[in-house]
Assembly symmetry: C2
Homo-oligomer: 534 residues x 2
């Protein structure tokens, strides 16, 4: 993973000159003047890890699995939000962990937690490092009497532990990256079917801890819906959850761990349901006259079926910019209306039967079929948007995303409110943006909205974005939406999350945290406000 951006540096693709020109003419994007830094130019503060803690960690996992060198620390600094990238590109690593610890088993995770509790060192679980919500940058350490923090990198816990073909479930270790998990399943004829945009780098444990949702969620569901069992190492001991797909034995404690973002414990194994690899896949595009008509069509499929496996709708601006295919951005400026991308999986016969019924629904609601090409272009570029962001940052543009979900009745006002908040705030800061949106996850009772913002970077890009993002967060809550549909809470959404959840909900979460993590070493300030700030 590129320390200053996304993914494999060999796959970086500069923007075509035509797009750079467009960005200049449309948004006033000006070239970045400073040349890019190299990793060894990043300013890393001295490690605060006490000697005794270092020795205890070496005891827990072996000295070779405790790293305090600058490179390891920079590579575990913050996550992959645009502010994260702009800070690290500016050479700022003040949020670097004081050490990186790589446990090799559940018991070693328990030993690390015990060592850190004894030495007052905070622990931040680290999977793919792909958080875009500040989920890897703890806060309030000093106020909590913590001396340092360690990134708990789970990459050594990367096995497929069990594949139960009768129950159609697989048990994975948390540090396994998603492409390798798919590979291991495919060797046996199965798939998980979980393909979020972070797919190429994210891990099984991260999916669970942050309630990930993938691009094929219409067909395969969300990750939290795939999980049927969890093992969790906490400072107070081990939780083993999930004896059946569903139960009436009290509250579903799996759902208390899913979305807990490492604040309650470290997920050390995940049992998920799996499915046979489909025989065939087919993608296609549709055009609707506007976002409202397209939303109505998606709602019809979500409520009355049949649902395809992939279903997404771009608004007018996103359709015009052609963002559904990052490699062809700007090529479609003549495109009008709103693009719908459909993906279908199954046997060829099943695909045909379902396609025919879907065509009837979409045609009846004003859709115009565009054939396979727009769908296949989307599929081809589906994991490329983070690379596109790097290229935009390189040429002096600012690009970031945010997302929410709500009940269908609230979607129009939510869409308008967030768009207005982003546009007004960034225009007020002197960097009027392009704001694009798509719906990519639908349910019978509601849907998600995913916004992409592009503007000129300007010298104060991070504080200007924070102002705009806060306005968008306020707009989300005002319109009845949730502060995140699949990115999570981290530190960035924490204050709005607390407002959404209410003081009593937060008190319940705090009580669980105190029971499982009595010394407060796990992810301080992530998800749950630091005790010192309450």
């Amino acid at each position: 993973m590129l320390w200053s951006g996304w993914g494999d540096p060999a796959r970086a693709t500069p923007l075509p000159e035509s797009v750079v020109g467009l960005l200049r003419d449309l948004l006033g994007v000006r070239p970045v003047e400073a040349p890019p830094l190299t990793l060894d130019e990043v300013v890393v503060p001295p490690s605060r890890l006490p000697e005794a803690a270092l020795a205890a960690l070496a005891d827990a996992v072996g000295a070779e699995h405790v790293r305090t060198d600058d490179e390891a620390r920079v590579r575990h600094t913050r996550g992959k939000s645009t502010p994260d990238l702009l800070r690290i590109r500016a050479g700022r690593a003040e949020d670097a962990p004081d050490a990186v610890v790589l446990p090799g088993s559940h018991d070693e995770v328990l030993a690390v937690l015990a060592a850190c509790a004894a030495h007052r060192v905070a622990v931040v679980p680290f999977g793919g490092g792909t958080s875009v919500v500040g989920g890897l940058a703890p806060t309030g350490l000093a106020a909590s009497g913590l001396t340092a923090f360690a990134a708990l990198d789970l990459r050594r816990l990367d096995g497929l532990v069990e594949l139960d073909e009768v129950s159609r479930t697989a048990v994975f270790q948390p540090g396994l990256r998603a492409p390798r998990a798919e590979e291991l399943l495919r060797e046996r004829g199965y798939t998980l079917g979980h393909f979020p945009q972070s797919f190429e780098w994210a891990t099984i444990g991260g999916f669970a801890a942050a309630r990930s949702s993938g691009q094929a969620s219409a067909g395969y569901g969300r990750f939290d819906g795939m999980v049927v069992g969890l093992t969790v190492a906490t400072p107070a001991g081990t939780l083993d959850l999930g004896r059946a797909p569903k139960s009436a034995a009290g509250p579903d404690l799996r759902q208390l761990v899913l979305g807990s973002e490492g604040a309650f414990g470290v997920i050390t194994s995940v049992r998920v349901r799996i499915r046979p690899v489909p025989d065939a896949r087919a993608y296609e595009g549709w055009r609707f006259p506007d976002f409202a008509a397209g939303s109505t069509a998606l709602r019809a499929l979500a409520q009355d079926g049949p649902l395809p496996t992939v279903l997404r709708l771009s608004d007018e601006t996103e359709t015009m910019i052609g963002l559904a295919d990052p490699s062809g951005v700007g090529a479609e400026l003549s495109a009008s209306g709103c693009l719908v991308v459909l993906g279908l999986e199954g046997t060829p016969d099943e695909i045909e039967a379902r396609r025919a019924r879907i065509h009837d629904v979409l045609t009846g609601l004003g859709g115009e079929p565009l054939g396979a090409e727009p769908g296949e272009k989307w599929e081809h570029g589906r994991f490329n948007a983070p690379y596109l962001r790097d290229a935009l940052l390189d040429v002096g543009a600012f690009a970031e995303t945010l997302e929410t979900a709500a009940f269908w009745a609230d979607i129009p006002a939510l869409y308008a409110g967030v768009k207005r908040a982003l546009t007004d705030t960034l225009a007020g800061s002197g960097t009027p943006p392009l704001v694009m949106c798509h719906i990519s996850h639908v349910y019978p009772s509601g849907a998600s909205l995913y916004f992409t913002v592009v503007s000129a970077q300007g010298p104060d890009a991070v504080p200007h974005w924070e102002k705009a993002k806060h306005a968008a967060n306020d707009a989300i809550l005002a319109a009845g939406g949730t502060i995140s549909h699949h990115h999570g809470v981290g530190t960035d959404h924490r204050d709005w999350y607390a407002r959404e959840t209410g003081p009593l909900g937060m008190a319940a979460l705090r009580a669980v945290k105190d029971a499982l993590d009595p010394s407060g070493i796990l992810n301080p300030g992530i998800l749950i406000p630091p005790a010192a700030e309450e």
Copy 2:
């Protein structure tokens, strides 16, 4: 609701003489000698409610909504398990609430909780009163410093608050009984699709608090999957949960309330997703050579589809007895193999298309179609089993049910283990039983098992049953099952629930309880062991 049994006394149906004879010959059932008691013969202990508490409750809800008369107290004593019925039929009401309180609003519930916290009176939320797991009989009051307990009957909170046709959701008050909820929805063209055996008497709030699952769960899902929003009155204030169908904003706190059985708060409104009333329904029967073959067929439909709306498989004994149709019990003694009942809903075309595909699957796996009659008989008698139990108790038989769920790979050992535990224990007590079983809820990764036990009652029926039930509970945990798939925990399953959940899981639940119910007045000893016993 009949105080000493189930439902509407006008619908009670005595057993045919032929069945009584069979019970005598097969199980040694002997007539009950004592004549049935009338309600006013039940011995009700004096109310322990302090005068000051009575006054405070009258202030909270109005004096006319606080009842301390014997009849009201008997009608709120315990639930509808067979031991509950045998105890009340024996005139024992030592678990009667000291008062019955009927709040008329969310705020009145909050006021009742405040009054009870101030006066150290426990509160037991009461919906339909249909608990079969001791969910209405709190324990450990004295040890917790509580002077009395009040049943909080929610029947006045019985409204449809909102129907959102765009989002396809409805908001109900908790005390609304299910048939009336269906009626209110049907007036607008919708259905909830939730039909547990307790349907005719159970309430919306009870479904949520106890994670109910209905007979059409294959098509409509479990109740906890239908809930998208909840309002909860707790002694510490109000929780408002659910701004979107799904969210990544932390753990799903709705799932902490669902299944909490009143131990954390009183559910005062429930937002559920609804569906259009189907155009048509069709039921039919299939025969499989044995339970293993039938299970394989159900698993195939659950994993690879298509799923019908109703799907259940009776084992050989249940098929022979004809229990799928309580009105025809004993009429099918010549039936061999295992009966599958299928229900299909939709437009006639959809039903036909799905039926054809299901027939292909079932035929390929050794099933033999029996036509519509067995399915229609099941549908006709679907809510009658509790009446049948009353009739069995009347003639001196003992009849009770229990249920569990597990992953598919564990189902065969779970089935054998529970059956053996019940048979051996009851035979050892001198009342060898008939043990019948069915699968009525399937998932891609597992299924539920529902056991029905019939034996002679004998003079020590309750302690004998408790011994058998404890052995079955042990067998469930030993085989990897969950202690309940849809009946819940209550007091009856509490110890096994604690074993299943583990000390750390229980500590998390206790922490939540302490945060939401700091004075410990809600359902003491239900779900969570009394603090005094820890």
